[in-house]
Amino acid sequence: MADQLNQPLLQVSGVTKRFGGFTALDNIDLIVRPCERLVIGPNGSGKSTLVNCIAGTLRNEGGSILFDGRDLGSDPPHGRVRLGLARTFQIPRPFVSMSVLDNLCVPLEYAARQHIKLGKSEIAEAAMHLLEQVGLADKSHALSRGLTQVDMRKLELARAMAAKPKLLISDEAMAGLSASEVDDILVLVSGLQQQGVAVIMIEHVMRAVMKFSERVAVLVAGKKIADGDPQSVVDNDQVIKAYLGE
């Protein structure tokens, strides 16, 4: 069991991504173990590109991405979600013509079903349960296009959770939220760890970074310059240099 826990869940090695002449990711290595909480941030460039490469919405040019011992190669995003690799979008992208509840049924039917047997009524139950967790239960039948920004972010997170992932990548879920809302979401995400889900958070909100993370990785100009526990990263010379200048 202990051995299994030490096996990396996600192993990114040497991933490179260029846009024309611009190198957005330069030879990135990153390892995430099961149930681990990793924050990538708090600032710097290339984070969203990395998320997109891992989720499969962008193709990396060099390097490989292994998930759960399997090379993702050129698997399309939906294949990766089905393996248990879910992501949220920085700007919420709800299915606007559907009710809040139906939004969650999509990943439940298309992704979660791949590894958990779910009947029709169980899907509705599971969706409702998730909505209770994020505090949207009373809006379950409202159209998602009418939600407030905060509720949309919660829905975005719930929809990723509905895929029943082993690893959830959250892309700036907290931007623009109030302190108490940040805490709500932190509680949610911490709860995921207890359910055996590893989490990568891309985050600016410094309080969230320090409170949440067991490990912090820092990307600057497409290169990873630090990776370790929060305190050691904050003390890292290169990080200080990158943030405060020479």
């Binding site: 919405t57 299915f95 559907m98 999509v106």
Partner: protein, 314 residues
């Protein structure tokens, strides 16, 4: 209602309608009803890709004509029975939908739309130059003298076939709409990237949708050569099919299978009346004006009003 119940009900209604129609002595009724039913199928088929999935097909006429001309080919080559024609034409148009979809559905949606515009002209040119099926001059299709099931005239048989095909199209559309596939298609329509990232195999579903939609449009065209008894390219490829199959779902409402039916019955009947009383050019103008009026002023169509009214009452 379960899909199986709905299917049983739909086909029972179809049979009842066919039986009841025997009491109508007027042949004009059959030919008018045939046209309206044909539009119901076209609108329903268009809506599977357009309304459910969000991809605009301007080439309804191409798929319809594929069905019609595959029947002409079978008539010339084998004197095949009507059932064989219907099945073959449906499959051929489905394959065409799959092929066009495969070429263009990997790109932004608008390229699919433009490709379907192009498709109609390519196929038209092809048929015009294909002498075996009559080329530009057209071809005569003689209705068989022996009419099965003791029906008095051949139009009765065509009409009955159309009623059954309409029932089939509605059953399929509703089944898709209420299934997991339907939810996947709706997710694609709302946000394709988000759908893909929620585990929906978007390309496969789009191809499925394009294939079924194309197949049903083709099916509507398979009996057309017999209906006219003479077929020429400009009749089979008439722009009226393209504009009607877009206008009907948009006017009726695109979110459910009911919308296209409402739109088709309404617009189809209006056109039948105008065609008789004024002229066919005017009825095309009416369709165009209604299309633009609805799409700008009432984007959710008639069913949109109904839904809004229902929500208010709740």
């Amino acid at each position: 209602m379960k899909n199986r119940t709905f299917a049983a009900l739909a086909f029972a209604t179809a049979v009842a309608v066919i039986a009841a129609s025997r009491l109508i002595p007027n042949d004009y009724f059959f030919s008018a009803a045939y046209t309206v039913l044909q539009f119901i199928i076209l609108a329903t088929a268009w809506n599977i890709l357009g309304g459910y999935t969000g991809y605009v097909n301007f080439g309804s006429a191409a798929f319809f004509a594929t069905g019609a001309y595959s029947s002409v080919f079978l008539y010339k080559a084998l004197h095949a029975p009507l059932v064989v024609m219907i099945v073959t034409g449906t499959l051929a148009a489905g394959l065409l939908g799959l092929a066009v979809g495969y070429l263009t559905l990997r790109m932004r949606g608008v390229f699919f739309a433009i490709a379907t515009l192009a498709l109609a002209v390519v196929l038209y040119t092809f048929v015009v130059n294909w002498d075996y099926v009559g080329g530009a001059r057209g071809a005569y299709i003689i209705q068989p003298r022996v009419i099965p099931f003791g029906l008095p005239r051949y139009i009765h048989l065509l009409y009955s076939a159309m009623v059954l095909m309409t029932a089939l199209a509605l059953v399929i559309a509703r089944a898709i709409e209420t299934s997991t596939i339907g939810r996947g298609l709706a997710a694609i329509r709302d946000d394709e990237l988000a759908a893909e990232c929620a585990g929906v195999p978007t390309l496969r579903l789009k191809l499925f949708s394009a294939t079924v939609s194309g197949a049903l449009m083709g099916m509507a065209g398979t009996t057309f050569p017999y209906y006219l008894a003479y077929i020429e390219p400009s009749a089979a490829f008439s722009l009226s099919y393209a504009v009607n199959s877009i206008a009907m779902p948009l006017i009726g409402g695109m979110m459910s299978w009911v919308g296209p039916v409402i739109g088709a019955v309404l617009l189809g009947s209006v056109q039948q009346i105008v065609q008789v009383t004024i002229s066919s050019a005017w009825n095309l103008l009416i369709v165009g004006v209604l299309l633009v009026a609805f799409v700008t002023l009432a984007p959710n169509g008639i069913m949109g009003w109904v839904d809004a009214w229902r929500r208010k009452r709740r």
